[in-house]
Each structure stands twice: as structure tokens, then as C-alpha cells.
């Protein structure tokens, strides 16, 4: 038998055998792979049952809302659901078609119907997102057409308001006539569709979001750098001091965690405001005159200072957990090999802290990109971040689609960042503690 001559085959036949396909089998002829699955099935089922509650919780409270939010960022049927006839007309006639009498009739009928069921406000609001100042056009027209119009509808509508003849208005109506739309994303990037359907930048005085995105990322980068500069020495001290002293220091580091965010932020207001402690001291020392008190809060400085303080532990803790595991003999070895203490730091110690630094930087950056409360309290107008704009759309302008689009862009940016980090450093090098 050929099999018996092959030493490897002999080992296999001892344990079981080879079936026709040449794959391994157990002693009683069952394919080995299937036997393995069967034998571990029970354990896997138990493991699944253990994580199931958390899984459900996450699906219901995290995945589901995020999915809905992402959906909302591309979906808004405020116009299409309430203006059905005009929507059909837009669908049947390509862009560039002059509105004919049928279109005007559809508009008049839709306005009348919407006014009667009181959804004209919704339509107006949706239009207003696309073209500022059109809400009142719709609501007032709604009042006037409630009792019906006589043809010719074009003239009747233009009589109500000559703005109805504006090609830009018709273009905007065409844009919002589709429930699924990219217009919120375009708006979030300070872009819009012009009358020909081409994507163009909005007027310079309306460009806010790109600037806010840039500011958010720049400030987040500055805050990350500040937490690194301040956190690195503290983490090193924590990792090298004797236990009793390092515990005390650790409490000081964690203290911000145990204090209300509002209290901490208010404390910064007390310190930084123009009549505040720091300005008082500077004036008292004669470094600045009483009239030259520094503006350190309600601007970007305030945002940076307060957020650096709030986010510092997120940099210190991962750094500390990595530094604690760095054997002091590495530094000793480097010194004995002839390196100065600076070279030892630069070439040995610092590279070994990179996993912690990466984790801390990623954590601080991602947190500060989405930070809301501190900039809202101490940021003034120049210290506002994109998250404040999202909040504004959520709570004041009630343009949830816009808020969703901004959030989705933020999410995408963070995911890209994560991907870049993975490519550069490797996510398995991340050490959170």
C-alpha cells in the first residue's frame, strides 16, 4: 500500500483516515473540520448568549439611531410627499424644460391641497433649506390659493407673487422634488446646484461649514498637541514614581473626571475672563496695563485651554499604561551602549511610547472633533466648532437633515482618520490601557 510507505500518511491513519476527497477525518470517519465545528458549537452558543444582551442594546441604541441619522441626511420628503402633482411633473420633464401650463396647474393644485391639510409650512420649510427666504412665499401663497385659482394658472400665480416666475425657484423646487437628495451634503460643504443642475460653490458670504470643519480639525489638532505636551511628562512621572506618590498624582490626573464638566468650565471662566484671576495677576505684576486686559475666553483661546484640560486624562492614561510596561533596562542598555540621555529618549524611550501616544492622540482628537459643550460655553463666536452647528440645526433651525449630513461628514472624517492611523501605525499597536 502506497499510503503506509508515506510516513505522514501513517501518522494520519493512526488518528483517523483520509476520505475520498483527501481531507482529514476523525477515527469514525467524520470529516475533521465538521467534527471541530460540532465540538466547539456548544461553547460558541454559550458565548453568544452572554454577549447577546449587550449586542441587542448596541443595535437598538447605537446602530439603529446612527442608521436613521444617516438615512435622514439623504432623505427628506417634506416637499415630495406634500406636492405630489408637481413632483410627478418634474419627474416627467427633464431639467431645463420651461414650466408649461400643466406645471403651473400642478403647482396651484398642490399648494391648495397642502394649504387645506396644513402641510404648506412643511413644504415651505423644506424649500427654505434649499433657497433661503422662500418659506413665506409658500405660506402666503397657500393662504391665497386655498379657495382655488382660475386658469390660466401661470398668470394667476404670478399675480399672487411675481417671484413664482423666478427660474431659480423652479430649479430649487426641482431639486427638492426628490425625497432622496444629496443637497444636504452639498450644503454641508458650502456647495449647491445651480439652475442647470451643476454643482457650484455658494456665495462667499454664505460659506460657513467648510471654514467650520477646517477650524474644528485645526483646533482639535492643537488640543491634541497640547495634551501631548502636557500629558507626556505627567505620564512619565506616573510610571516612574514610587507607588505612593504616583497614586497621589494619579488622583490629581483623574480629578477632572470626577468633577462636573460645568464646574470645570466655569472655573476656567473665573480664571480667564477679563476681570478674572489671571488678568488681575498680570495687571498687579504690571505686565499689562489695566486697559490692556487679555481676551482669553469666549474665543478660540478659551476653547483650546478648557478642552485641553478636559481631555488631558484621555492622553495621560494610555500613555501611562504603555510607559509602565517599558522596562527601565532598555534605557540603561542604551546608556551603557554610549547614548546620551537625550539620544536615549529620542531613539529608545519615545519610540516605545508610540502605541500609547497613538491611542491617546486618536482618542483626544476624535473626542475633540465632536466636542460640544465646552466650546458652547467658553468658545464665544470664534471658538465654535462644527458640533455646535450640528446642535444648532438640531435644536433651533430644526433642519435635522442638515444636522445629519454634517454629522455624517464628521463621522466619515473620523473613520478616514482611523484608517490612516491603521495604515501608518497599525491598529493592533493601539494601547488604551
Amino acid at each position: 500500500m502506497v499510503k503506509a510507505l508515506d510516513p505522514h500518511a501513517a501518522i494520519v491513519t493512526e488518528a483517523g483516515g483520509l476520505d475520498q476527497g483527501g481531507s482529514l477525518t476523525t477515527a469514525d470517519g467524520e470529516p475533521l473540520a465538521r467534527a471541530l465545528v460540532r465540538s466547539s458549537r456548544r461553547a460558541r452558543r454559550r458565548a453568544l448568549l452572554l454577549v447577546l444582551p449587550l449586542l441587542l442594546f448596541i443595535v437598538v441604541t447605537f446602530i439603529n439611531p446612527i442608521g436613521q441619522m444617516l438615512h435622514r441626511s439623504v432623505f427628506n420628503d417634506g416637499f415630495s410627499a406634500n406636492m405630489p402633482e408637481l413632483t410627478v411633473w418634474f419627474k416627467e420633464h427633464p431639467r431645463g424644460t420651461q414650466p408649461d401650463e400643466a406645471a403651473w396647474q400642478a403647482l396651484a393644485n398642490d399648494l391648495q391641497a397642502a394649504a387645506q391639510v396644513r402641510t404648506i409650512g412643511v413644504v415651505g420649510t423644506r424649500m427654505n433649506y434649499e433657497m433661503a427666504g422662500t418659506r413665506s412665499l409658500f405660506t402666503s401663497a397657500g393662504r391665497k390659493v386655498r379657495d382655488g385659482l382660475q386658469p390660466p394658472y401661470r398668470e394667476a400665480m404670478l399675480e399672487i407673487d411675481s417671484k413664482w416666475g423666478d427660474p431659480a425657484l423652479w430649479s430649487a423646487m426641482r431639486n427638492v422634488s426628490s425625497a432622496y437628495t444629496t443637497s444636504f451634503y452639498l450644503a454641508a460643504l458650502d456647495l449647491k446646484r445651480d439652475e442647470n443642475g451643476d454643482i457650484v460653490r455658494v456665495a462667499p458670504e454664505q460659506r460657513v461649514y467648510v471654514m467650520l470643519f477646517i477650524r474644528t480639525f485645526v483646533l482639535s489638532a492643537i488640543i491634541t498637541a497640547m495634551t501631548f505636551l502636557l500629558g507626556f511628562p505627567i505620564a512619565h512621572l506616573l510610571a516612574t514614581l514610587p507607588l505612593r506618590k504616583s497614586n497621589l498624582l494619579m488622583i490629581l490626573v483623574l480629578l477632572p473626571f470626577w468633577t462636573s464638566l460645568l464646574v470645570r468650565t466655569s472655573a476656567w471662566i473665573v480664571l480667564l475672563q477679563q476681570q478674572g484671576v489671571i488678568n488681575d495677576i498680570l495687571v498687579w505684576l504690571g505686565l499689562i496695563g489695566n486697559g490692556q486686559r487679555l481676551q482669553m475666553i469666549y474665543n478660540q483661546t478659551g476653547t483650546i485651554v478648557a478642552m485641553t484640560h478636559v481631555l488631558l486624562p484621555f492622553m495621560v492614561l494610555p500613555l501611562y499604561s504603555v510607559m509602565r510596561t517599558i522596562n527601565p533596562s532598555y534605557a540603561r542598555a542604551a546608556r551603557s551602549l554610549g547614548a546620551t540621555s537625550w539620544t536615549t529618549f529620542r531613539r529608545i524611550y519615545f519610540p516605545l511610547t508610540l502605541p500609547g501616544l497613538g491611542a491617546g492622540a486618536l482618542l483626544v482628537f476624535i473626542l475633540s472633533v465632536g466636542y460640544y459643550i465646552t466650546p458652547a460655553l467658553v468658545g464665544g463666536s470664534s471658538g465654535q466648532l462644527i458640533s455646535n452647528m450640528i446642535a444648532m440645526h438640531m435644536t433651533q433651525s430644526l433642519n435635522w437633515s442638515m444636522a445629519a449630513a454634517l454629522s455624517a461628514l464628521l463621522l466619515a472624517a473620523v473613520l478616514i482618520l482611523y484608517w490612516v492611523y491603521d495604515r501608518l501605525v497599525g491598529i493592533d499597536n493601539l494601547k488604551l490601557g
Binding site: N327, S329, Y330, R332, A333, A334, R335, S336, L337, G338, A339, T340, S341, T343, R347, I348, P351, L352, L354
Partner: protein, 367 residues
């Protein structure tokens, strides 16, 4: 005081003391001269001060008092990176974020050496430890023994005159450890470097060293070549620490030059050579190595005293047999004898008389 220098005192510890807390001395008055090219081992139990001495020599600890000289130069205030001492650490301390080649390149780069010379030296150092193929590996991809070789190569690549090794083989298994002992010893002989080696493994110390300094309680208990240390321990600590040892307590009955007659606790008399006892009537501990104990009358010196013994247990150890005896009320007296063809079989309960050459019984200070 004159400063001795030159080949016999390449490294000098001159009245060195070290205290960490200002209350107790970890190293008490250390005086030690290490010759150029010597392989000196600091041996001792943990906490005996041997590692502290090594760290002071490397520059990671400062001496509280006294002077440490390297090649005639006081190095007390020289920072570690300027001492030019190679060091092998217990856990190897290979930089995990660098490849083997980069690890070896590091000491050369910080010395500002050119690329071609660096390449030359790295190749040579890796070939020296037979690790030339592993140049682009990371330390984590190497086995313990391979890491040990790289650590050795890294400590030698910049041609230090002095190499310190801090329990470098502690993490290896027995077989590999013995193999590496041999290799380190061979390297030492080939390169002619001075090695100061710290270990708590006496077997390692005995096989590798030119001289061994036995540390205990912050002092050197004995400084001697391996054979002298084993055969002629100068005090009870050394006798007990190095190898297996029988200790019999008694008092000095008679003292004649370096010959002593000792009366044991049960009244029996034995001959011993006097080592660190001074007067008759002084309590003493007599130390006898188990393999120097004889039980065949024809192998015992004719005029020597013999002792009554009862076999309690015989343990078969392959190459030798190990008998536990009751001798002079001591139940832990050990005798080793060779497992040869026709060797006398001892059985528990058997009574016999044992003896030894008086030179092998050393009357030491009482413990």
C-alpha cells in the same frame, strides 16, 4: 594612598560603600581589584550586594563612599554613556522596535561611526555569535537563546575593554544555559576582554570564572579561583553556599599549627585542618564535602579518627549514590560514592565507620 594601576587592577573598588536609605549599608567596604582579561564572577544570594556593585561599576548607581577606578581613572563621576563598558542584561534588553541589525548599529551610530565601518562591525559581531542570518529579524521573533546571543553581540560590537553581565543566562533552560556558558567562556578567551559576571548560580560561577567573589551581607566572603573556593572555603558561609557540605559542630580540643582536634557534641573526636580558628576551647563548625567521606577502611588514612555512622537512606542518582547518614547525632550527614561495578551496597539501618583525610575536614567559624 598609592593608586595601583596596570594589568592587575584594571578595575578597582577602593573602600566602596553603598547605602540606599541612609540607614543601612547594602555594600560594606568593598575592596576588589580585577585584572585585565580576567573573568571575575560575583556570586551570592539575592540581596547580597553583588548586583549593586555591578550597577555602580556600570554607572547606574553612585557609590555612597569610596572610589571606583577603571584603568587607573576614577570613574565615580563619569556618566554611564562615557564609561565605554559593554553590558548584557538579565532580560537581554534588546530594543523591541529595532531589528537585530539596528540594535547592533545603535552603539556604533551614537559613536558617530561611518556606515561602511558599521556594516563591517555588525557583520563581524553577528558572525561571532553565529547569528548572521538573523540580521533583519525583530527581537520578538527570536528564541531566548538567540536573543541572548544578540545581546552579547551588541555588548561587544563597539569593542569595549570591559563587559558586565548581569545574570545573563537566568532565563534560559538548563541545556541552553550550559551551552551558552561554554560559548561566553570561549568568546572571553578569544577576545581577551575583561568580564565581570553576576550570578546566583554557583555551577555557572564554577565553570566559567577565573576567580569568584562570594558576596554575602554586603561583603566579599571569599575571593578565589573556583577550585580553591570549593575545596578550601574560608568560612562557613562559603562552605555552605558553594556545593553540598556537611557541617559538624564541636569545640577545639587541641591546636597544633594548622592541625586541629575537634570534640564533637556527643564526645567523639575528629581531626581537621584549622582555617579560621584561633584558640583551644573555641566553638567551631567542621566542614566536609560529601564526596570526600570514605567508608572503606582501606581508603582512610591510618592514624585518623573515624566516626560511628548509621545509614538512614540511600538515593540512587545514576552516576553516584547518595547516602544520608546519622553521624554524631546529626541526621543529615551526606556521603556520596561512585556507582562502580562491584560497589558495596549500603542498606538503611546498616552501621559503619566513616572517616576522611584531615585536610578535607576544615574547622571554620561557628555558624
Amino acid at each position: 594612598m598609592t593608586v595601583p594601576s596596570g594589568n592587575d587592577s584594571f578595575v578597582m573598588f577602593d573602600h566602596v560603600q553603598k547605602s540606599y536609605d541612609g540607614q543601612t549599608l547594602v555594600v560594606k567596604d568593598l575592596n576588589l581589584a580585577i585584572a585585565k582579561g580576567e573573568f571575575l564572577t560575583m556570586l551570592g544570594p539575592s540581596g547580597s550586594g553583588k548586583t549593586t556593585c555591578l550597577m555602580m561599576l556600570a554607572g547606574f548607581e553612585t557609590a555612597t563612599h569610596g572610589e571606583i577606578r577603571l584603568d587607573g581613572r576614577n570613574i565615580n563621576d563619569v556618566p554611564p554613556h562615557k564609561r565605554g563598558i559593554g553590558m548584557v542584561f538579565q532580560n537581554y534588553a534588546l530594543f523591541p522596535h529595532m531589528t537585530v541589525g539596528e540594535n547592533l548599529s545603535f552603539p556604533l551610530e551614537v559613536r558617530g561611526m561611518g556606515k561602511s565601518e558599521r556594516e563591517d562591525r555588525i557583520t563581524r559581531a553577528l558572525d561571532m555569535v553565529q547569528m548572521g542570518k538573523f540580521r533583519n529579524r525583530r527581537p520578538a521573533q527570536l528564541s531566548g537563546g538567540q536573543q541572548q546571543r544578540i545581546a552579547l553581540a551588541r555588548a561587544l560590537v563597539f569593542d569595549p575593554k570591559l563587559v558586565l553581565m548581569d545574570e545573563p543566562l537566568g532565563a534560559l533552560d538548563k541545556q541552553l544555559r550550559e551551552h551558552m556558558q561554554f560559548e561566553i567562556k570561549a568568546l572571553h578567551e578569544r577576545l581577551g576582554i575583561t568580564v565581570v559576571y553576576v550570578t546566583h548560580d554557583q555551577g555557572e560561577a564554577l565553570t566559567m570564572s577565573d576567580r569568584i567573589a562570594v558576596f554575602n551581607d554586603g561583603r566579599i566572603q571569599q575571593l578565589a579561583p573556583p577550585a580553591a573556593l570549593y575545596e578550601r572555603p574560608e568560612n562557613s558561609f562559603v562552605a555552605g553556599f558553594i556545593g553540598e557540605n556537611n557541617a559538624l559542630r564541636g569545640t577545639i580540643e587541641k591546636l597544633e599549627g594548622d592541625k586541629a582536634l575537634v570534640r564533637l557534641a556527643n564526645g567523639e573526636l575528629i581531626d581537621a585542618s584549622a582555617v579560621n580558628i584561633r584558640e583551644v576551647g573555641q566553638p567551631t563548625t567542621v566542614s566536609i564535602r560529601p564526596e570526600r567521606v570514605e567508608f572503606k577502611p582501606d581508603l582512610m588514612p591510618a592514624d585518623a579518627h573515624t566516626l560511628e555512622a548509621e545509614v538512614l537512606d540511600v538515593i540512587y542518582m545514576g552516576d553516584i549514590l547518595r547516602a544520608v547518614l546519622r553521624v554524631a547525632d546529626d541526621d543529615e550527614f551526606v556521603m556520596k560514592y561512585r556507582n562502580t561495578l562491584g560497589q558495596t551496597k549500603l542498606t538503611p539501618g546498616q552501621k559503619l565507620r566513616i572517616g576522611w583525610h584531615p585536610l578535607d575536614a576544615r574547622a571554620l567559624d561557628p555558624v
